[in-house]
Amino acid sequence: MEIRNKRLTDDEFYEIRKTVLNQWPTGKDVDLEEAFAFHKSLPDSKIFSKKLNEAKANRITLVQPRAGVALVQKHIELLTYLQDKGGADLLPTTIDSYTRQNRYKEAEIGIEESVKTGKSMLNGFPAVNHGVAAVRQVVNSIDVPLQIRHGTPDARLLTEIVFAGGYTSYEGGGISYNIPYAKSVPLERTIADWQYCDRLTGIYEEAGISINREPYGPLTGTLVPPSISHAVAIIEALLAAEQGVKNITVGYGQCGNLIQDVAAIHTLESLTEEYLHKYGYNDVVVTTVLHQWMGGFPQDEAQAFGVISWGSAAAALSHATKVIVKTPHEAMGVPTAEANAQGLRCTKQVISMLRDQSVDENSLKEEKEIIIAETKCLLNKCFELGNGDIALGTVRAFQAGVLDIPFAPSRYNAGQMLPVRDNNGAVRILTMGNLPFTKELIDFNHGKIDERAKFEKRKASFQMAIDDVYAISKGRLVGRPRG
């Protein structure tokens, strides 16, 4: 059956649900009614959507780290530390990579090894293996709202377990947790699986429990032009809304040019709202998240603080609803609690110093127009390809290279498009592949890149893109030729 952007019927949903809950023994502990009751017992201060809505109303930017370790107690200690010593407004539970691939047996080995060696041998928290009761232990121990962050193509069981466990926010989506996170999972599959996750969110919503959903914005985190990630975010917002999701945070990974970044956050919010309304979803609250630079970091911690701060500045000046924080250990490995808290404190300092400042609207005008025009080209073509259905259109768009994410591992991504920075560090598109841009937009991109090529006295090429990939880790934004 071909994929459609259509709400799953109860019959469809509960039919699938039987097999989902059987994927791993812990699935049997999930009981919806009892889970609703648990959620209703939570104080407002632990509810993600409430805190986001409040932040949006007050135009402040909340800070949230990434964090997750193998064992429950250690994970609670870690989160408590980040809450108390880092001042995190929101906390995550990052899931390990085996769980993300539904390799629960390997996750089990990781847990055992972690117990044995006394250090986390997993790069995240294996929530499925731990099960509902353990997840609730985390929720009960922490004072601020909690979100699951992962990168799981088939996250259905995970969603069931952590929702039942009391998590009030959940990252991911059928595109954003496939193309950057998988090699050979068909897009129809992940979109369908994420319809399940979204429908489950809708079911909670209908029971009076508003769980926040966050399409994963930064994709590969590596020179992704705003219009590309905007298109994906908006599609996932539409898919989620169709399943009954009412509280959505759309995301964007900082590119590094301030004007482009601020314009990106502003247009991300306005375009998402525009498309939601256009397609009849009128009661969804949209908030935004900026991810501090998601590409390669400098190894030196002092330099890393510089990168972290610049991401914080972009978040504050664009008044994103929240910012996801990197740490001074980023280039080296999963951070210690201490390093993670340092990233948070550095970020909070910058965010709160800048909260009363903004970027002049006039200076954003051109960049906003470009992002809007590009994003609309992409989305309109997707709808066209799907004969009006965005789920179908998305699958066909990826096949056609109409949606194309740079440096992605998935074989369902064309990988024809090549981005490079322009002379001011904004990310532009050198090789269009099959992006359905107008001539004006193509000319604009190439004109900007030409300026740089002239300045650097070299041709724009794959080598230029490589230089840009390394640039920030080597202390620059634009990867100028050496020597």
């Binding site: 390990d96 990579s97 085996y98 993300r100 691939q101 390799r103 390997e106 080995i109 990781g110 090894e113 250090k119 986390s120 041998m121 997993l122 790069n123 990168g151 950057p180 996170y181 998988a182 090699k183 590969t220 590596t222 590409g295 390669g296 190894q299 250990h329 280039a331 080296m332 490995g333 999963v334 951070p335 210690t336 390093a339 440096f407 992605a408 591992p409 794959f462 080598q463 490589i466 990939v469 880790s473």
Partner: protein
């Protein structure tokens, strides 16, 4: 110069594709015959590809932190598959967290890896090591 063959890829459930794409580009430009398996490569896939291509070296990348779990037993599997003595390199962010590199290197050498590289090792360093270990020279014309 006779072209040496290398098999490369990112091991385990790891999807970090950026470095892999760039390494492929750099190795090819440096005159190697590259079989790039991309991301999420199992030990078996490396070994099968190495047998098929008669490779001189297997270059394992691991970025996401599970390298230690994923790499265990690789040398033994190579031996069993008849790839006795094949050069094994590993590099990237091969353990969870920031750990003293000499300890990490020791553990991976004990697992049978010939060369172990820390986070952010530039392609030039890897290529220099390959030239040395394989006793070959850079190609006359490199893409610069």
């Amino acid at each position: 110069m006779e072209k040496k063959t290398l098999v490369m890829g990112v091991i385990g459930a790891d999807v970090h594709a950026v470095g892999n794409k760039i390494l492929y580009h750099a190795f090819t430009a440096a005159g190697f015959n590259c079989v790039n398996l991309g991301v999420m490569v199992s030990q078996e896939e490396y070994i099968n590809a190495a047998i098929e291509s008669n490779a001189d070296v297997i270059v394992v990348s691991s970025l996401y932190g599970h390298g230690e779990l994923d790499c265990r037993g690789m040398r033994e599997k190579c031996d069993e598959a008849g790839l006795k003595g094949i050069l094994l390199y590993v590099g990237g962010n091969i353990v969870v967290g920031k750990q003293p590199f000499d300890e990490v290197e020791k553990r991976f050498k004990e697992m049978g890896f010939d060369r172990v590289f820390g986070p952010g090792t530039p392609p030039e360093t890897t290529i220099a090591a390959l030239y040395e270990d394989l006793g070959v020279q850079p190609p006359e014309e490199t893409e610069e």
